[in-house]
């Protein structure tokens, strides 16, 4: 099987590659979003605690 045949998927390229693409996109987004959100929340909490720490000490 050569590459051209591989991408053509026997004439069903649109259906096969849209399916795999959608799954990859959703799974990637599901991975990135919570990681970024977590980083942001930690930053925010650190800044808050530094501010409070500065006031109380």
């Amino acid at each position: 099987m050569n590459w051209q045949e591989f991408w053509a998927m026997g004439g069903h390229a649109f259906y096969v590659w849209t399916s795999f693409g959608a799954v990859a996109a959703v799974m990637l987004a599901n991975w990135l979003l919570p990681v970024l959100q977590h980083r942001k929340l930690l930053d925010q909490l650190r800044r808050q605690s530094r501010r409070q720490g500065g006031q109380s000490r």
């Binding site: 026997g10 069903h12 599901n30």
Partner: protein, 249 residues
Amino acid sequence: MKTWFHQWGSPPHFYERAARWTPWFSVLALVTLAYGLIGGLVLAPMDYQQGQGYRIIFVHVPSAWMSMFIYTTLAIAGGIALIWRMKLAEVYIAAAAPLGASFTFLALLTGSLWGKPMWGTYWVWDARLTSELILLFLYLGVIALYSAIEDKRSAARAASVLALVGVVNIPIIHYSVEWWHTLHQGPTVTKFDKPSIDTAMLLPLLSMALGFTFYFAALALVRMRLGLLQRERYSRWVSDMLNQSQVKS
């Protein structure tokens, strides 16, 4: 056993341990998904009936399995949250429900993209497709209930009840193709006699399913840590942890 249960149930302990488990699940997911993709897209032969188009099975079936598996775990976690009032179970429901919803969405989408070339239609209202769509609505209901109620304890309780009630849909989805005439074909892998699928197709399919499971395990932990931190941001262990990390840096 009891101490183990309690240790894992304690938020700071879980927060720390989960961070260590995530990379392992991620590596396992990458390996199994890589094998599944190569095996499914390249190594497996084409199907006698559907030619190359059948390869959608390698993402469609694992997505559909995950959609049902995750909902079942939601119901179990819901039971634990309601009976033992365990905080981690509540956090789990909030963390896993969006993942389950995305797998359900993917199962419906890829199924529709598979149906058009093979059946001749994107969608039919047969028992299998309709019950899977209801599953998506159940997930959305759980997510909406949890986010709509301000107090997270009562929010989790409401979501738990819905997760438990909705679990009757799971056997309906599974058996719909056997109980009623549907356009959707019957089970291939999970029937009692030998799976009616070529081994060269079955192995990558199972590997993909395993990969999806590991992916879900890794991400459930990631999302649970995030949810835990959001819920406990004003608690003692969070500020202790923040102070410690500041001393270190």
